[in-house]
Symmetry: C2
Subunit: 169 residues, 2 copies
DNA sequence: GGTGAAAGGTCATTAAG
DNA sequence: CTTAATGACCTTTCACC
């Protein structure tokens, strides 16, 4: 149901070489151009492909320090007001409500360790935040990736016989 | 300052509407199209724009559960061998070496809470991993974003933010 | 600024579930 | 009968020189 093997190869190709156009992709995959377009449309419509925007590297912008901050919130007030305030801070790159002793997990970036202290202070000053404990990312062992997932998802076929022939070479 | 205000608006535009071409972008920004192309080339060369690949949503692929797992490793062996093994697991979306009591922080996804248990078991079974403690993401309050950072780096304000510190320039 | 080359749209046809 | 793939047409638009 989610995606089939052709979708997987399509995503793989566009991830590896975003510059290839629809026409070139159709040639390489051995399918019609309209097919590729239809697949891309469907993947976009279903939300599998969220977008084609440029991926920005915070480090290249000068924000070389990444940290993960776990916030404990005051019971009263809920998460949303805090999240709204966190959203005002550019250095907060991501925020999740989580299980466990912490209430929220934020990914933040900073220009330096000194700057990181400033950012953390900003978070602590946010109304509703009771405590913050942070860990610094020393190295990114595995950068954010989804390709293995795509291959996994494309490998499992929900129904029998979606494909009509041997894979083109 | 790695990027200027024009770069910022350029990135902003391509993030909002990746479909706009160089020509259309130059028209909207009121600059020559060669300028836009040169800027894009420079941003790509400098690594600010890492790529234009499609953004895949794991949830749309059926991996609706996200968790953050902190691993404690055995002192002997180091991080890299563990990272290499983690990289073999498709559900491991990201991995960082971190400071603090934990040694590595991984972002993982799973098809369900039951499936999550399976994935965690896989991680614990990785040679060199001593302990794993995980928190589940209940809600994504702030999805991964870089635009506010771009605006900040470009010297612009993103909104009614609490910005202290000396303004650049 | 001009030009070759795609993208994007529509359509009729064919095949398969 | 509904969905999908295909090849063909077309016009607009872009990227490169």
């Amino acid at each position: 149901m989610p995606i089939d093997e052709l979708d997987g190869r399509l995503i793989e190709m566009f991830t590896a070489e975003p510059r290839v156009g629809v026409l070139e992709a159709s040639r390489r995959l051995g399918v019609a151009r309209g097919t590729v377009q239809a697949r891309l449309d469907r993947l976009s419509r279903d939300g599998v492909i969220a977008g084609f925007g440029p991926e920005i590297d915070p480090a290249a912008l000068g924000y070389g320090v990444t940290a993960f901050v776990t916030l404990q919130l005051r019971q009263a007030g809920g998460h949303d007001p805090v999240a709204r305030r966190l959203a005002q801070v550019p250095e907060v790159i991501e925020a999740h409500t989580i299980t466990g002793p912490g209430d929220m997990l934020c990914r933040i970036v900073a220009r330096s360790n000194t700057d990181l202290q400033r950012v953390i202070d900003v978070l602590v000053d946010v109304a509703g935040v009771e405590r913050a404990s942070s860990v610094i990312s020393l190295a990114t062992q595995i950068p954010y990736r989804t390709l293995p997932l795509v291959r996994e998802a494309a490998g499992r076929r929900s129904g029998p016989g979606q494909n009509d022939g041997p894979p083109p070479r």
